[in-house]
């Protein structure tokens, strides 16, 4: 089960560039939340602030409060602890090419020293089933490298890898933008299936995708959160003129 995320007055910078400006929002637990907006609007930076990946860039800096459940992630914990609780899926599939499929999924637990083989087997199978990949790879779990499968399968492998540590939150930064429509559909199915069990935040360029998978949608523009509302409202009756312009394709 996931936890909710409360963001208050979040500001982020890349060097002198102010990429996130005073963003506050409440992402409900166990739902999917989509973030949309034109390129460079700060939505990717925003999700990277949610697991403190933003600060891995040497010139980057973030200020503000992000609460996951009871935990203030910028005060109460180290980035390492946060990232153990928050799964992340990137735009391009990034399985570890030198590891087998099995080891890819188990990597999050193994690197933390988890050694119980029986539990690992279970976790790997469950995660791969959750990612709807089990049937396609179950025969070569330890034979094939994580990079030898197709792009869509690799992305589902990355989702399985993120799920294997039983995260409370799953962040997805344009998880389907590098994939073909069939793989995209599979990923969307997955998000649909997983969202009752995890808090999912998905950045997407594809508005139909946001409409299809997310209960709530936030619209970012030039580092600001312009509007955050139930997806139906954003796409049918947005309260901000800029949101309307964007979703009707008048700019961006």
């Amino acid at each position: 089960m996931g936890v909710d995320i409360r963001v208050e007055d979040l500001n982020a910078w890349y060097g002198p560039v102010h990429t996130i400006k005073d963003v506050s929002l409440h992402i409900p637990a166990n739902h999917a939340t989509a973030l949309i907006g034109p390129s460079g609007c700060g939505k990717s930076t925003f999700v990277r602030c949610l697991n403190r990946m933003h600060e891995t860039n040497p010139s980057a800096r973030a200020e503000g409060t992000v609460r996951m459940g009871d935990l203030d992630i910028y005060k109460d914990a180290t980035p390492v602890e946060i990232r153990r609780r928050v799964g992340m899926v990137f735009q391009r599939p990034n399985p570890f090419p030198t590891m087998s499929i099995y080891d890819n999924v188990a990597s999050g637990l193994k690197l933390n020293g988890f050694r119980k083989k029986r539990v690992l087997d279970e976790v790997v199978e469950r995660s791969l089933r959750q990612a709807a990949l089990w049937d396609e790879v179950k025969d070569d779990l330890k034979k094939k490298s994580g990079a030898s499968i197709s792009g869509g399968q690799q992305q589902r492998l990355c989702i399985a890898r993120a799920l294997a540590v039983d995260p409370e939150v799953l962040l997805m930064d344009e998880p389907a933008s590098a994939l073909d429509p069939v793989s995209t559909a599979k990923i969307e199915d997955l998000i649909f299936k997983l969202k009752s069990q995890y808090t999912i935040v998905i950045v997407t360029h594809n508005m139909q995708q946001a409409a299809r998978v997310a209960e709530n949608t936030g619209f970012f523009l030039m580092g600001k959160l312009v509007e955050f509302a139930p997806t139906t409202k954003i796409f049918t009756n947005p309260s901000d003129k800029r949101t309307e312009d964007y979703i009707t394709g008048r700019f961006g």
């Binding site: 637990l109 089933r129 039983d166 199915d189 069990q197 979703i247």
Partner: protein, 348 residues
């Protein structure tokens, strides 16, 4: 803006709650074994801190080593520094018997032979790297790169022997006359040519530093992303144009790095150079004339250095070699910086 359907809101896909085989898959119950396990793990603060500390120590040890080397060189050559002063670096007479210690001919020999070696080795090395990456048929690639790396493993005294018995006669009898005939007017290639001299030393050095430059620049060029090559090819670039605008441009910092590494090796190379350079402290334009390098004079005279001043002067020669290396490297980097300045792309 009250017409729905601009963005279709129909959630087209029915959520599959069941796997094809009928089993339902759920996230583990809370609190799960995995979450408890991960919560119990340390934050990594101490381990990461310790790791960072060890790394910082290792990095600082480099400073310590350099400082120590400079300290020892300076303190052991104090006698000579006091006796010769700046004349050590400007004087052209090296006469231990009468106490004249001018190291300029050695500095000249070192710098000229190394630069000449780089000039000869770089085009060859880059050509070999490009050939291996883009042109070479597959079955030749392995053997050629293996042999290239083998060149780097040959001890320098063996190069020296080969130089004395093979290269010296070739340069004296075959290459020398040709160069003299066509390039004699420049004043760089003038008889008499005994085969031993700065030119021969440079050729040996070029062969010795070629593998370093070639293998490093090949690795750098190989790291250029395929999409950069494809971007150029898709614009209609020929193979050479593609190599020039995407491979060489993207890899240039690494290539410069490999050249600087090769230059460093050439400046300090002792044995092979000593065997073919002629060991005569002279500053002449003629590259066929014998020369002397800083490293060679230390190797040749250290065992026979009688008297504290002589020994101290040789250690100061070491200090000079150290300074020459630093200055040459600094100048090389400065040149690169000047060339790439204002051209932010790839300038790191």
């Amino acid at each position: 803006m009250n017409e729905p359907g601009i963005i279709p809101l129909i959630q087209t896909r029915v959520p599959q709650q069941r796997e094809p085989d009928g089993t339902e898959v759920h996230a583990p119950a809370v609190p799960s074994v995995i979450r408890n396990f991960l919560r119990a793990k340390s934050s990594g603060r101490i381990a990461d801190g310790a790791f960072a500390g060890v790394m910082v120590l290792c990095a600082l040890s480099i400073f310590a080593i350099v400082v120590l080397i400079v300290f020892v060189l300076v303190s052991d050559s104090r006698l000579s520094i006091h006796a010769s002063g700046w004349k050590f670096f400007t004087g052209q007479i090296w006469d231990p018997v009468s106490g004249d210690f001018g190291a300029l001919p050695f500095i000249y020999g070192t710098v000229v032979s190394s630069l000449l070696a780089v000039v000869m080795a770089v085009p060859l090395a880059l050509a070999v790297s490009i050939f291996l990456l883009d042109i070479c048929p597959k079955f030749l690639r392995g053997p050629i790169s293996f042999l290239t790396e083998l060149l780097a493993a040959i001890p320098s005294v063996v190069y020296g022997l080969w130089g004395v018995f093979v290269l010296v006669p070739i340069i004296r009898d075959q290459v020398g006359p040709v160069l003299e005939k066509y390039l004699g007017w420049t004043g760089f290639f003038v008889e008499p040519n005994f085969g031993v001299g700065i030119f021969t030393a440079s050729v040996i050095l070029a062969i010795m530093i070629f593998p370093v430059i070639s293998s490093i620049s090949r690795d750098v060029m190989r790291a250029v992303p395929v999409n950069q090559r494809e971007a150029a090819l898709a614009l209609g670039a020929t193979r050479w144009e593609m190599i020039r605008i995407s491979v060489l441009r993207n890899a240039r910092m690494g290539i410069v790095g490999s050249v600087i590494l090769g230059l460093g090796r050439a400046l300090g190379e002792t044995m092979a150079v000593t065997m073919v350079i002629g060991n005569h402290p002279d500053i002449v334009k003629n590259l066929f004339a014998p020369g002397y390098t800083l490293a060679s004079v230390i190797a040749n005279e250290f065992t026979e250095a009688t008297g504290d001043l002589y020994l101290s002067a040789l250690i100061e020669v070491g200090l000079a070699l150290f300074l020459v290396t630093i200055v040459v490297n600094a100048v090389a980097r400065l040149l690169v910086w000047a060339v790439t300045r204002g051209n932010t792309a790839g300038a790191h």
